[in-house]
């Protein structure tokens, strides 16, 4: 059902699809630069949720009546759309979750249960989000396995030589972020996956921040698992995707027990349903699933080449402007970088910057961005972060810069 690709990327046209972008905040036009936390939603996504509840609402996978069948068909079609969007081989390789965090916990738990034992090692990197640290710490502690951390350099890039040195026959899992939410670094996940697999390890990629910047081809990357959240991909909250290679998902034990995930239940024994239902216990977020379909239709008709050029120009423009400010330091200067800029200003707390900029309509994130170990690595407590989406403009960067200058003047 995907529409034809629009002629050419045009940011003014695109902005019309996102009604929230034309609202005011504190009397000023909103400049929304907190896309790393969550993206805004196009009209079609909001409409799909409303339409679903008004005309289609019914539980799925369990009713013979028409509404239930329609809802089931619609929900399962979204799985197929997702399979195509991610270039996955099979549709049952798409597991719907609550989000990135849920997907990582699922794999840490189900993989860990059967495949981790004392002396085994799990490798993550120094730039992971807490949601790709804590679940591994928990399962490693339970199983007596060890968590190893790949160091990064001062630009915020993974030290590949150190990574190679960490890999060994003890490595059972490598779980790394594709694009850092704090630094914007794009990690060479394809290469890192191949290196891990040579050692017989399994790879999970946290794609929370990569999917909003370009469509992902999971087969090309080659990792066993790839997870992300729809709310950062212009879709609804409460829906995530866990892609997993079929042979791996088949082999793993279920994560949660309940309805939908079973084949037969007696008090003595339960047999589990097949994929993908084995990992989807209970009534899912059906409205969110339907809205996910609407988001995919929307994404499918975008000019992604045009988007990438546009985002690169935002990143270049913003970086150049910020560098002109005395006493400002950009945290994260990787050669391969997405449109995310974290920075600190000498003698000024990021919280204060965020408060003053908000007064001028500018939404940025401040704090540690759920990456405290990374903050420690750079010897800072937090940063202010501007993260751009394709609907942002250079004019917004100008308004952001004006707000920043004003804030610095007030706070110095």
């Amino acid at each position: 059902m995907s529409q034809a690709v629009r002629q050419k990327f045009n940011v003014e046209e695109i902005r019309k699809d996102f009604p929230i972008l034309s609202r005011k905040v504190n009397g000023k036009p909103l400049v929304y630069f907190d896309n790393g936390a969550t993206s805004q939603k196009p009209d079609v996504v909001a409409d799909a949720i409303s339409l679903y509840y008004k005309h289609e609402n019914s539980n799925i996978h369990r009713g013979v009546h028409t509404l239930s069948q329609e809802a089931t068909t619609a929900y399962e079609q979204v799985r197929e759309k997702m399979q195509q969007y991610l270039s996955a081989e099979h549709k049952e390789e798409i597991i719907f979750t609550k989000g990135t965090t849920d997907g990582i916990n699922l794999i840490a738990s189900s993989f860990g249960k059967h495949h981790l034992k004392e002396g085994d090692e799990v490798i993550i990197s120094a730039m992971e989000h807490h949601s790709n640290i804590v679940p591994w710490q928990m399962i490693c502690e339970e199983k007596g396995a060890t968590l190893k951390v790949i160091p990064i350099n001062d630009q915020g890039e993974i030290d590949l030589e150190a990574y190679k040195g960490l890999l060994s026959s003890r490595t059972k899992m490598v779980s790394i972020v594709h694009i850092s939410n704090t630094l914007g670094t794009i990690n060479p996940v394809k290469e890192m996956t191949a290196l891990a697999q040579e050692k017989g390890a399994v790879v999970l990629i946290d794609g929370a921040q990569s999917v909003p910047h370009k469509p992902i081809n999971v087969q090309e990357i080659g990792a066993e698992f790839y997870v992300f959240s729809m709310h950062k991909l212009f879709g609804p909250t409460g829906v995530g995707v866990l892609y997993g290679k079929k042979e791996w998902l088949d082999a793993l034990p279920p994560y949660q027990g309940g309805g939908d995930m079973i084949k037969t239940v007696t008090f003595e024994r339960t047999t589990y349903n097949e994929l993908p239902h084995k990992f989807e216990a209970g009534t899912p977020n059906i409205a969110g699933g339907i809205a996910t379909g609407a988001a995919l239709d929307y994404l499918n008709q975008l000019d992604w080449e045009g988007i990438q050029l546009h985002e690169q120009s935002l990143l270049d423009y913003g970086t150049e402007k910020l560098k002109q400010i005395e006493g400002l330091r950009i945290i994260g200067e990787a050669a391969q970088k997405a449109s995310v800029i974290s920075f600190v200003v000498d003698g000024i707390h990021a919280y204060d910057l965020g408060v003053i900029m908000d007064k001028m309509g500018v939404a940025v994130r401040t704090g540690h961005h759920c990456t405290q170990p990374l903050m420690n690595r750079f010897g800072i407590l937090g940063t202010a972060r501007a993260s751009f989406a394709f609907y942002n403009t250079k004019e917004e960067i100008d308004q952001f810069m004006e707000a920043l200058h004003r804030a610095i003047k007030m706070l110095k």
Binding site: N26, H349, D352, V355, I356, K359, H368, M410, L411
Partner: protein
């Protein structure tokens, strides 16, 4: 010495002069800069109130039946608000502090700083100030 109630009214009146947010925040920032710092020796782990965004240190001493607060924060706006809290609450009896209703923050339009998403340590600081009030009542 004025009561907590009078001091709250004073602050509200002071803030009513500001015409826009800039003036208000510039004043807050100047208050933050003036706030007498807590003694370094008091900036210890047990006096720290960790917010996700900024950190606050708070110390309380009981003297002649009154509580004297000193505090600090790493964020200047948080510090400005702390200065107001101290001005309103410090040098009062433990009972008055424990029982007070702090309405001035709302009235001067800074309520947003006490919202949980700000996570700047202020809400916990107010709670802790009141807890000191309760704890010192026994001693006073």
């Amino acid at each position: 010495m004025s009561s907590i109630k009078e001091r709250q009214e004073e602050v509200v009146e002071e803030f009513s002069m500001f015409e826009d947010w800039m003036d208000k925040y510039e004043y807050l920032i100047s208050l933050g800069k003036e706030l007498p710092l807590i003694e370094e020796s008091k900036k210890v782990e047990e006096n720290i109130i960790k917010g996700c965004q900024s950190r606050v240190w708070l110390d309380a001493q009981l003297q002649d039946g009154k509580i004297y607060f000193t505090a600090d924060s790493d964020a200047i706006i948080t510090k400005g608000i702390i200065a107001l809290m101290i001005r309103v609450l410090s040098e009062s009896s433990p009972k008055d502090i424990a029982e007070t209703d702090l309405h001035f923050v709302d009235e001067i339009g800074l309520k947003e700083h006490l919202s949980p998403t700000r996570s700047n340590g202020l809400v916990s600081m107010i709670k802790k100030m009141k807890t000191y009030g309760i704890a010192f009542q026994a001693k006073a």
